[in-house]
């Protein structure tokens, strides 16, 4: 109880920014920028403080009773901190990027207000200590992303928003039903008290299986598991920072993170294994991985291809979880971080191409490497990481996934990994080939669709540096995976907690 204020303050930094941003007039560009960046930096600092505290063995709790038997609980554990760390880091980058991206566009106040609300909900999801609190922020996330998805306000965006709501509100409802049912059975489900459900005995197994499925549907919508993925490619109409956010940090990750919580902290890995649900998860993840990759191959535009790639890649997390054994767990958790870093890089780059050169289709990318070298290098790093080449972060994920498959005695998963990596290569390598080896407008062949020359460098600095930074990070976490405080280290820490009693 000693450090109740830290998680609360972390949450409040972005929550309190919201009314401030709404109160500022639309034209107060400078003040808003300072506010946004200040809050984002402060949050990184606070999360770092909590990571440090956790390694020191301190515990952070904040709770109060909402109604009898239901508690609002913020608590800090390694898993939550991983997610909080990821979101706060990428948030900083995305804020910088969004400031540059939305320069001179209308409704920036609205955008940044909901943007901050979105990060507040993500941090809330990360720090939630029980299912009720998790649900609270999970739904808040739905609400705060809707205005971002429809931000452009044209029919396509509005339709995408409606589709998004249809999926996520229904998903949220399923989650609510499942959480209430669990609550009726055992009371408040605090994360980390895994014996609770296991103690119910074999009589409850049927019911628990049904509830798991209901909860999985609720979480699977946001994690874009096939067949609940329909909203994600359509939400591509949103501005690039929003896509980056939906795909890399907030929404899909909230779903994936929820599944991690469900398996490890609500049901507990052994109970899930006992119920035979891990195999089910593995099958769903496999289907999603392959389906997403195949659909990605068919896309002719850059952002939809990245979107289907997300569907496929997020399921690596689920696949890792479904492998019973420490290596699988490490793989799933570490990929939660790695995929975020790499995918956010790719989306920044896609946004840069669109902003600077007006490129939306893949066949327009010819020779862009020469015109925008840094962006293209960043893109290449992200793409190679997705394929799983060392030394980029994605290699570590796939390596541990493979080891986990062996450990869980599910060798077919390795075949899935191989096929999926080949598919990844099949849809990323042609892009890289076009970027670097095809002659394009930069070589005097043809013209860019809409060239704008946004800044001193190859594009505006606000857009360029976040992409470069996340690309560098993607390589660093791969190279320095063995260093303390790296994602791998954190994931191992979490896994040790899970498997060692």
């Amino acid at each position: 109880m000693s450090q109740a204020w830290l998680p609360l303050v972390t949450l409040a930094t972005s929550l309190l920014v919201v009314p401030l941003i709404f109160a500022l007039p639309e034209r107060a560009w400078g003040a808003r920028t300072v506010l946004n960046l200040g809050a984002a930096l402060l949050k990184v600092l606070l999360v770092a403080l909590m990571v440090w505290g956790l390694y020191q063995g301190e515990s952070f709790h904040f709770s109060f009773t909402v109604v009898q038997g239901v508690t609002f609980l913020l608590q800090v554990d390694a898993l939550g901190l991983m997610f909080a760390g990821l979101s706060s880091l990428l948030w900083l980058a995305t804020t910088v990027y969004a400031i540059g991206y939305l320069e001179d566009s209308p409704n920036r106040k609205r955008f940044f207000g909901f943007f901050s609300l979105c990060v507040a909900s993500t941090v809330g999801i990360a720090l939630a200590g029980n299912l009720f609190t998790f649900l609270l922020f999970y739904e808040l996330l739905t609400l705060s992303t809707y205005p971002l998805v429809v931000h452009r306000g044209h029919t396509k965006a509005l339709d995408a928003g409606t589709t998004y709501l249809r999926y996520t509100l229904t998903g949220g409802l399923m989650l609510l039903l499942g959480v209430v049912a669990l609550h009726v059975m055992v009371g408040d489900v605090t994360f980390g008290e895994r014996e609770m459900l296991a103690d119910l005995g074999p009589d409850a197994h049927g019911l628990l299986t049904v509830l798991f499925l209901i909860l999985l549907v609720g979480l699977g919508v946001k994690a874009a598991l096939v067949p609940l993925h329909g909203w994600l490619p359509r939400a591509m109409v949103a501005p690039a920072p929003v896509s980056a956010l939906l795909h890399a940090v907030a929404v899909v990750k909230a779903g994936a993170f929820g599944i991690v919580r469900l398996v490890y902290d609500v049901y507990g890995i052994s109970l899930t294994y006992e119920l035979g649900l891990l195999t089910l998860l593995a099958v769903i993840a496999t289907i999603t991985i392959l389906y997403g990759s195949i659909r990605a191959l068919a896309q002719q535009e850059l952002k939809p291809r990245l979107a289907y790639s997300t569907i496929s890649q997020v399921s690596y997390i689920v696949l890792g979880i479904s492998l019973f054994g420490p290596f699988g767990t490490v793989a799933g958790l570490v990929h939660l971080m790695h995929q975020g870093l790499m995918k956010v890089t790719l989306f920044y780059c896609a946004g840069n191409y669109a902003e600077e050169l007006g490129i939306h289709r893949i066949d327009e990318l010819n020779g862009a490497g020469r015109r925008m070298p840094l962006t293209s290098i960043a893109f290449t790093v992200g793409a190679l990481g997705m394929i799983g080449l060392p030394p980029v972060a994605g290699f570590i994920s796939k390596w541990y996934l493979g080891m986990g498959a062996v450990q869980a005695n599910m060798p077919w998963v390795i075949a899935v990994l191989v096929v999926s990596s080949l598919l990844n290569a099949a849809y990323f390598l042609p892009i890289l080939y076009r970027l670097w080896f095809r002659p394009g407008p930069a070589h005097g062949v043809g013209e860019w669709p809409d060239e704008r020359r946004l800044g001193r460098f190859e594009t505006s600095g606000w857009l360029l540096w976040p992409a470069v930074a996340t690309a560098v990070f993607s390589v660093m976490v791969g190279l320095l995976a063995g260093v303390p405080f790296s994602p791998l280290d954190l994931a191992t820490f979490v896994t040790a907690e899970e498997y060692l009693p």
């Binding site: 709404f22 909402v66 649900l135 739905t142």
Partner: protein, 496 residues
Amino acid sequence: MIERLGLLIPASSESGDLGAVLSLLAAPLVMGVLASLWRPQHSWPVALLSLLPIATLALLAHQVLAADGQAWLIELGALTLHWRANGLTLLLLLLTQVVSLASAAYAPAYLRTEIGSHGGQVWLWPLQGLLLSSLSLIWLAGDLLSLYVGLELMGLAAVGLMLLPGRVDALAAGMRYLLLALVGSLAFLLGVSLLLGAWARLDLAGLAQVAEPGIVLWVSVALLSAGLLLKAAAFPLHAWLAPVHGSAWTPVSALHAALVVKGSFFIALQLWLVLVPDAQVAAWLVGAMGGTAVVWGGLLAWRSAKLKEVVAWSTVSQIGYLLLGFSLLIGTSPSVTAVAWEATWLQLAAHSLAKAGMFLATGNLIFSTGESHVKGLAGASRRMPLSLLSFGIAAISLIGLPPSAGFTAKWLLLHASLEAGYWLWMVALALGTLLSGAYIFRVFRYSFVEDAEPLDYRRVPWSMELFALLLALSSLLLGLVAEWPLSLLRPAGGGP
């Protein structure tokens, strides 16, 4: 259950105790009449005169909380009236005052800018005072005569308020409402007559002891319920609601949707708990009506072309939630009733605050754009973020998304339905959530349209913005701090 209603509290003998409760009842009426000396377009008399009712409530709360509930006997010749107050009564009184105060504070600027000098504005404050007094009487009353008086006064005051705009459509809708209200009160009176004839007493605590199941009891309960549910706009007796709201003044609409329908609901629930506490099958019927109301009201709201109609039909849907809670309180196990009890009152409070806030915000939207149609809002999010934000915050509570009071109430309702094994109720709640999401986000979809023609926006006075936002925020925050008001519902000794 009747001890939860506070009906078993022994009456205190000293008559001096009556001062607080009498002044609580009289203050709104007196102040309303006094306030009519000034034009309602001035706001300072409202601010000043509304202090007294609040002070009387504080005084009463002080007395009641100190004694863990209080009851009074009022002797009028051979007639004895029974009044009582406990935690629930206090909460309902507080809710009434808060909503009424917000609506009153909203009204002056609204009348000044939107209405001008039309309509019977002189009558606004006296009628609102009467409404407040009669509602307070309903919350306090422990016998059928007081309830009848309160119900009638409330009905007449409500009709009067609805008629104030004086336009043809308001008068036509008001006439219809008047006739329905009168029929409803006749049914109520007939039911009361049968009860009085059969058991020769009007006090609820006494009736709870002597009333025996039989045809007289059932006929009277049926008559009472029909009358009350008609006034509460419960499905299928809801058709009068939207036309009435369509033409009424915005603060009056807020008051009506938030409080008046709740008064009838409260009486109905109370009578069932007193007269037929174990009638599970009949309660299923009420619950089924509620479930249908949730879905049907949602559909009506979804199809509505006008903004005010969306808000008005959503009341039908939300009353449906209350009826679901109602049915979970009759004849179910104690563990279910303990949850459903809190769920019902929380839902009532959540809906009151959110709906009042939403009506005020809707009034702002209509005022600002000059458009009463949903389609007229196209592009509104560019210009009126604050009104739209208030609307949105209130909507969160109506849909039942966290962290609003509507969500917490729905959580409790789901909990109770699941524990009671009422699966269909859960389906109704789920459908209601989706439908309310659909009709709310339909409004928002229009507001986000970017390529709409720019409208001619009028600036909304700050007090109108402020009170809409405050009500909406209170419905949102109540969700997180629900434990405080709900703890008042439990007996002080602890335990359910």
